[in-house]
């Protein structure tokens, strides 16, 4: 039944938000601390426990999958209700912050990937003497 999946998702969501609120009040902040993240971890854990026990038939998975697939449309709706007029008064903050973040991360990726041995790269791409896709 498709509702089982959606109900599982709902339980993880509510429990996650509840734990996040509890963590918040324990830490003395009037905020939900990582409730969404906790809910995600709960759902991953639920899946880990249920799949080997054959408790997740396809229909049940579809009850969660539908909402997972709705995430981009929901984000589009979220974007459509932001105070963009006010944000544009902020000037080039968004552009600069994004560009700087990408450059810093790009250098970090390059540095880490240079630590990989040439042998393992050759083993993955035996037929390619050139880098891929360029």
């Amino acid at each position: 039944m498709i509702i089982y999946g959606t109900a599982l998702l709902a339980c993880c969501h509510l429990l996650g938000i509840f734990l996040g609120d509890m963590l918040g009040s324990l830490l003395g902040v009037k905020a939900n601390v990582g409730g969404v993240g906790i809910a995600m971890l709960l759902l991953i854990f639920a899946r880990m426990v249920m799949v080997p026990r054959k408790l997740l038939p396809e229909a049940t998975e579809a009850g969660v999958g539908y909402w997972g697939a709705m995430y981009i449309p929901v984000v589009v709706a979220m974007a459509a209700q932001q105070n963009v007029v006010a944000a544009l008064h902020g000037g080039p903050v968004a552009l600069l912050a994004a560009l700087a973040a990408v450059v810093v991360c790009g250098c970090c990726i390059a540095a880490i990937n240079r630590t990989e041995s040439p042998e393992s790269i050759a083993a993955i791409n035996p037929d390619q003497s050139q880098p891929l896709g360029i």
Binding site: N32, G37, V76, A79, Q82, G90, A98, L132
Partner: protein, 254 residues
């Protein structure tokens, strides 16, 4: 006739929102394929259109809620509101296969943490340089530099203003677009040749849409590895953003 349609749309706000967003996503897919040849992912274009519509709504009504202040589109507020947004984000965690995830190993985890903390520091520092000196705004914009989901989730949790939220989303969106377009160009510099390198990339570059679109345009075989690590990115960011990162920022700037 027109009045009847308006009445139907107003009384079925959420249903109207599904239809409107569906049309936006459809158009974005077409724009992505025909105008950018798939370089810019349809979802990024759809979100940009959403932001454009929010701008239009804001100028039309003078309100703070973008398109939602236009009565006809009130249902967008429910669809993109906190409840359904968080529900959909939690659901994406289901696509993570725990057994596959273990293969990502230590380097994926290191990349994930670096990919959350580095953009956050850069974003928060630039926000501060531009006069957003309070801890809430710095954290929200810094979180936006992680991904466009982490930004608003963090902002909503710590009580940021809608203006800062919009800036934070814009930051994450610009980042996703740069990753999508820039990855194939920078593939040689980034050393994107192996599954391991794709996992490092997925962890550090963040944004599933940016990573999957960028890797697809570089080497299709690398897509699942990058996307796998990137799917953890939003979860980790949502966990750290309103908690650890906010507290550290608050402790530093007061």
């Amino acid at each position: 006739m027109l009045e009847l349609f308006e009445k139907a749309a107003r009384q079925n706000g959420l249903v109207m929102a599904f239809a409107v967003v569906g049309i936006i996503v459809l158009l974005s897919g077409k724009i992505s394929r025909t105008l950018t040849f798939g370089r810019i992912h349809g979802s990024a274009i759809a979100i940009s259109i959403g932001l454009l519509l929010a701008y239009w709504g804001g100028t039309q009504t003078g309100g703070k809620n973008g398109l939602v202040d236009v009565t006809l589109f009130g249902g967008i507020g429910l669809m993109g509101g906190a409840m359904l947004r968080d529900f959909a984000i939690v659901a994406t965690a289901f696509e993570v296969q725990a057994t596959e995830a273990r293969k990502a190993g230590l380097i994926g985890i290191v990349a994930l943490f670096l990919g959350t903390i580095l953009p956050f520091i850069v974003g928060a520092a630039i926000a501060r340089a531009f006069g957003y000196t309070d801890a809430i705004s710095m954290t929200t914009i810094g979180a936006g530099a992680v991904t466009y989901i982490v930004g608003p989730v963090t902002g909503a949790a710590i009580g940021a203003s809608s203006e800062v939220m919009a800036l934070s989303i814009a930051t994450g969106l610009v980042k996703a677009i740069i990753v999508m377009v820039g990855t194939p160009v920078a593939a040689r510099f980034l050393g994107l040749k192996t599954p391991r390198s794709a996992m490092v990339f997925g962890g550090l570059a963040g944004t599933v849409s940016g990573v999957s679109a960028g890797l697809a345009a570089t080497d299709r075989r690398l897509v699942p590895y990058g996307a796998l690590v990137a799917t953890f990115h939003t979860g980790l960011g949502c966990l750290l953003g309103p908690s650890l990162l906010f507290f550290v920022t608050k402790a530093i700037v007061g």
